[in-house]
């Protein structure tokens, strides 16, 4: 079988798995997130937390609860790293330095999982499993909470309440993420992903050398790392490391985990707004953008343009033999379009076009299909903009799902959409413009060097976390600046989205009239796709033209 045929069938198998799972999983998530009853275990958790689970919150209170939880999480994770040498299972690793600990704390709480460090050299087992991996769950649950809160803005009327953050957080964690992660961890375990507490084991190799094998509680972390679209690897090599991703079939499982929840959430949305066609429209936009990215990356990596791939005969630098170019490209396109950032191959060494597509995926704003929860609310925010633009074109008051898109809504949407490009371009411009900063961090030069800088800031602000890893992020300046980028890139849009939810929930729905733009049609899906591409294109085309495009064309 030719490599291309195998690549196509591999993608087909993945799509079939996702198609099979998105309806039951989407419906299940809708039931869980809008259910009225609390389980006995949940009641115990609420009592331990001192939380009234039946208190419905205004959007401002919801946002404050979310920010308070995230603040506590950042502080706890920061402290955890700063004292790790004094804790058990540290494997003799030192306390993490202040700038590094700040960066990592923010990185994991914001679901970014940008990693300036090598896990095997810096983070002990306890920090990994009881610090970092806990945030892998809760940061994904926070994303789901915001998504369902925004959907409530559409489904509720004449109320200032958008649900309880605490209940959304606990249910998303306990009933969605934890059971799925447990099953996934066992599947990965059977595939050869390690789960033990041995630490470092010295062996004499077959040919008489010495090798220090590093193991740890990987399978449990690997499962939620992918399922929660987090991406923080136990090891520096992330999912390229054979202990994290031993075979081509565990590789497919991991890609499936990245995409499973984001591609099921449109169904959840459609179910909750009682019009499944609305979900299908959103799904088709997400799916179309993802498929295009997969096709382009796969073609580019199999085609192997560029001086080094041409000389070597294939684009294998930074790739594993068991995966090859096709399975590496599929992972790369999926991880960058889901804000995950785990990698099974190193994007810095991808062909100019393939690497450029991964960067483009990120600057689309992580909506194709985006991260757990973040993808859905990000896409719905853009959908509101699309409805507004369509309204301008035909001169009617825009409305989406019966809710009027007025001045307040459009202002919130515009601010939310502009936050990301502003942070990315300003952050990248400072590093590119200040020679001392630039020289301290760049591995590659020329257009490829600019790609490294752009990728770093785009990845941080969009909470992706993957890198053109030649970029040296382990400086105090970059750790601080990228940390701020992750923080604002995460929480500014979240607060604006919750405000939008609050604003929509107060409205009395208007019945659809002759002038209402139907939002379940292929026309609307096309319009929405266009808006996603145009917004990203207008803001990022100049920068992309100077970086990956210039490299691809030179």
């Amino acid at each position: 079988m030719s490599a291309t045929t195998a690549a196509v069938l591999q993608i087909g198998l993945l799509v079939a798995l996702l198609a099979a799972v998105h309806v039951p999983l989407g419906d299940y998530m809708a039931r869980v997130l809008e259910g009225r009853t609390h389980s006995r275990v949940e009641r115990i958790v609420y009592r331990l937390g001192g939380i009234d689970p039946d208190a419905d919150q205004r959007w401002g209170v919801y946002a404050r609860s979310l920010l308070a939880f995230s603040l506590v999480s950042v502080l706890a994770l920061y402290l955890f790293q700063r004292v790790q040498a004094h804790l058990p299972l540290s494997l003799g690793m030192a306390d993490v330095n202040p700038a590094g600990a700040w960066n990592t704390a923010v990185s994991f709480v914001t679901n970014t999982n940008w990693q300036w460090y090598s896990g095997e050299a810096v983070m002990g087992q306890l920090v990994q499993m009881a610090g970092l991996a806990v945030q892998n769950f809760t940061s994904a649950a926070v994303g789901l909470a915001v998504a369902v809160a925004l959907v409530r803005g559409f489904t509720r009327s004449r109320t200032d309440r958008i649900g309880s953050f605490w209940v959304d957080l606990v249910r998303a964690t306990g009933r969605i993420l934890l059971p799925l992660a447990f099953v996934a961890a066992i599947v990965l375990l059977v595939g050869g992903v390690v789960q033990n507490f041995t630490g470092v084991q010295d062996v004499t190799t077959l040919t008489g050398g010495t090798q220090h094998l590093v193991t740890g509680p990987l399978a449990s972390q690997e499962a939620i790392k992918d399922l929660g679209t987090n991406g923080g690897g136990y090891f520096n090599a992330n999912s390229a490391h054979p202990f994290e991703n031993p075979t081509a079939w565990t590789n497919l499982v991991e890609i499936f985990l990245l995409l499973a929840i984001p591609f099921s959430l449109p169904r959840t949305f459609g179910t909750l707004v009682r019009d499944r066609r609305q979900g299908v429209a959103i799904l088709s936009v997400m799916g179309g953008l993802w498929a295009a990215a997969v096709a382009a990356t796969t073609w580019a990596e199999l085609h192997a343009a560029g001086a080094v791939p041409q000389l070597a005969g294939a684009a294998m630098e930074g790739k594993e033999v068991r995966f090859g170019p096709a399975a590496s490209a599929l992972f790369a396109a999926s991880t960058t379009s889901t804000s995950t950032g785990s990698v099974n191959s190193f994007h810095d060494s991808f062909t100019a076009l393939g690497g450029g597509v991964t960067l483009l995926n990120i600057v689309l704003g992580e909506v194709s299909p985006g991260g757990v929860g973040t993808g859905l609310y990000g896409m719905l925010v853009i959908a509101v903009l699309a409805v507004f633009l369509a309204g301008l074109m035909v001169g009617r008051t825009p409305e989406y799902l019966g809710k009027k898109i007025g001045r307040r809504e459009v202002t919130l949407v515009a601010l939310s959409i502009l936050t990301m490009p502003a942070l990315v371009l300003v952050g990248a411009a400072i590093t590119a413009g200040v020679p001392s900063l630039r020289d301290a961090s760049l591995l590659n030069t020329g257009p490829h060097g600019l790609s490294e800088i752009l990728y770093a800031y785009a990845s941080a602000v969009n909470n992706n976390g993957s890198a053109f890893a030649g970029f040296g992020a382990a400086t105090t300046y970059q750790n601080t600046a990228l940390g701020l980028g992750m923080l604002f890139g995460r929480f500014v849009p979240i607060v604006l989205t919750l405000a939008l939810a609050g604003s929509l929930a107060t409205q009395q729905p208007v019945p659809a009239g002759a002038g209402t733009l139907p939002t379940h049609t292929p026309v609307f899906a096309g319009l929405l796709t266009g808006v996603v591409l145009i917004v990203a294109g207008l803001t990022f085309f100049p920068a992309l033209a100077l970086a990956p495009l210039a490299e691809a064309l030179s």
């Binding site: 490599a3 001192g50 920010l67 308070a68 603040l71 506590v72 999480s73 095997e120 050299a121 499993m129 991996a133 769950f137 605490w166 306990g174 934890l178 447990f182 375990l189 059977v190 992903v193 390690v194 789960q195 033990n196 077959l206 040919t207 090798q211 094998l213 509680p217 399978a219 449990s220 972390q221 090891f235 520096n236 090599a237 390229a240 054979p242 075979t247 079939w249 590789n251 560029g306 080094v308 000389l311 070597a312 005969g313 294939a314 684009a315 630098e317 930074g318 594993e320 033999v321 068991r322 995966f323 399975a327 990698v343 190193f346 060494s349 100019a352 590659n444 790609s451 053109f468 490299e551």
Partner: protein, 191 residues
Amino acid sequence: MNSMLRQVLAGARLLLVLTVVLGVGYPLAVYGVGRLVPDRADGSLLRVDGQVVGSRLIGQQVTGDQWFLPRPSAAGDGYDPLASGASNLGPNDPTLLATVTQRRQEVADREGVDVSAVPADAVTASGSGLDPDISPAYARLQVARVARVRGLDPATVSALVEAHVQGRDLGVLGDPHVNVLELNAALAGLG
């Protein structure tokens, strides 16, 4: 402010509970299940005469023409699991171009073939720096030299390689590959 403080306290208490459940209970539960498949959960270790010689999943530094050699590695000084990772050099990087040119020549000289016969994985570093595999093409390229140095019939060595070629998973996933450690262990078993 009072309300914010209340939120922070609730958040702290909830985080503590979740840390116990997700950060301790969950990994221990997975660890418990892992004891049912200890070979997998402990890193797929390969034993020769009862002695652990490495992990089937982790590539090793190999020197000596009597062995099948692995890919170049960017992990530390080569195949160092304490420093996994890639070169991260771009597709048009002049340094990488020079390195690949040099590696092609070295492999061609070592195997006594033309540079055009050298496969891509033989001259590029992997993503993890711990890639346990080489392509079937690179394994076949090394048969003549390994047989010569060991004084073995090339047909025997060739048959050994073919027995170690693993196709794509389910026929379509990933790429065909040969596990170097398993191949070398079998080679050592030939005497």
